[in-house]
Amino acid sequence: MKPKKITIDPVTRVEGHGKVTIKLNDKGKVENAYLHVVEFRGFEKFIQGHPYWEVPIIVQRLCGICPVSHHLAAAKAIDQLVGVDPEDLTSTATKLRKLLHYGQVFQSHALHFFYLASPDLLFGIDAPAEKRNIVAVASENKELAKKGILMRKFGQEIINALAGKKIHGSLAVPGGVHKTFTNEERNYFLDGKQIPNIDTMISWAKEVIDFMKSYHIENNDWVDNFASYPSNHLGLVDRNTGALELYDGRLRSIDFEGNELLNIEDIDYRNNFKEAVEPWSYMKFPYMTKYGREKGWNRVGPLARLNTCSHINTPFAEKERQIFKAQTNNKPNNMTMHTHWARLIELLHCAENIKELLLDEEIMGTDLVRKGTPRKKGIGVIEAPRGTLIHEYHIDDKGLITKCNLIVSTTHNNEALNKGVRTVAQSLLNDKLEITEPMLNQIEMAIRAYDPCLSCATHALGEMPLIVQLEDNQGNLIHEKTR
């Protein structure tokens, strides 16, 4: 049998989609699988020549779902250009930035679970693609849909209150923030008169975790084994306690058994990471230098964060983390679909943190900005909803950007995404020359577990438009399936 190639290629290209190629060997077995990212944005290049203070505003245009993460990662880097390290920011500025960040992660996690992942979970792998969407969820599970909509809205309103807009607003300035919080703004989120309040958000976050736990009991074979594979895990942890940290901390990596591979200051990333390139994708492949390209790649995001942290510093989320960790006897969890579960624990953690910050009088303080001795280089690292996000900027004497390096969360997950697709392909496609709809669904689900930003391919409300082609090594079409 001649080697064959299966290509899963989006029919349309709305703002850049991924493309999957699965290669079979001459015995009809899956030899390899590649997730091609064919979009190119070029932010690292066209930011050059801009004044540094423009950067946090410009780079958030990288994404419409998590612009706040880019805004804050850039802001942390730009702080250093004006001589201010994270610990030197005023307490009010740090707390307001954290409130913005938790609002962002909360709304993004709510969006992913309710709008994108819940159709897969509620209707199952074998459900027709036209049913696996938020409209079907809304029709059959009104209360779930209502809660999803209002949780997403709550996070968006936090962003709106702090940044002036729900998408592409602005809070951070070099060395701090440009506005404080008012008592009226705070009460909007506490009194429950206009929107459900933060206590309701905490309660709903607990409910949806209970849903996930029940779902796991009923579907544990699939949830535990689907696209599961061992990997390293990377995430920020609190500098002093090792707790889950989303805004500022040390970078920690462990292997699939829990052995520590890396524990460094976030700004030392450059000495510890390299980025490989492949000819079939615009997306780079970051890896830890001392472990090499093959063994040094990490998963990032909710699952990785719960693996790398020692505990969570909010009580309800910590209780749920312990239940989650018990699934693997406190060892690292390498089960890809458990990412959805981990994401919901973080949803609860964010809600708890938002409440703590809303009740903190310092968010209404007026000491907003610090200045220091200017520097030529700044590095900002943050945990975005999808994982570790790194921004690095260099400036000249006029304050103009001369060099920029961005490693976004989905880039860290590049190898993991390829591995996930390969794992699914190997379990489904061997010896089969016919491509079925459930096969496509499962490949799509393996990608979606990471909530990647490709940029929009898997922010999908409905079925992902795909064409699947089976070709021999001469490029002759054997079988094609389109939806």
Binding site: T12, V135, A138, K146, L461
Partner: protein, 149 residues
């Protein structure tokens, strides 16, 4: 101040992409002509949660730029809910939002879609001359017919 009680008007688009800013420019005209801003909204795109937003109104008017040729450069038509599902969160049409509103909130706001023809879509904050003419014609008719929409 002209009141817009029970009516929400949403301008959809991006004013940094030339004529894609027509929806926003329509909202600007409403503001400049004394309509109260409380029920006027500019959005890059509709999102699922807008179903909750429109459930609070009896009337909702969506204003968007249109690439296809339109008679007189614009159209004002009623729209109904549709079960149609789009692929991306970046492309949710008004009738899908209306359907979600009906499904989740049991509300059926009367909906109107105003389409205004545009011509240029590059990176610039500036409407083309023809798009500006279409905008003025649309607004003129809208003001005259306001009571019957």
């Amino acid at each position: 101040m002209k009141k817009l009680d029970n009516t929400l008007i949403i301008g959809i688009g991006n004013n940094t992409r030339q004529d894609d800013g027509l929806g926003w420019s329509f909202i600007d005209l409403l503001e400049n002509n004394g309509f109260n801003t409380e029920h006027l909204l500019c959005k890059y795109q509709l999102m699922v949660e807008d179903a909750e937003l429109i459930s609070n109104y009896k009337n909702v008017i969506f204003v968007d730029a249109c690439k296809s040729e339109l008679n007189n450069g614009f159209s004002i038509e009623p729209i109904l809910a549709s079960e149609q599902v789009t692929f991306s969160t970046h492309e949710v049409p008004p009738n899908q939002i209306l359907h979600l509103c009906e499904s989740v909130y049991n509300k059926k706001p009367k909906a109107t879609l105003i389409k205004i023809q545009g011509y240029n879509w590059d990176f610039e904050i500036c409407l083309s001359k023809q798009a500006t003419k279409n905008l003025k014609k649309t607004f003129s008719l809208f003001k005259n017919k306001w009571d019957v929409i």
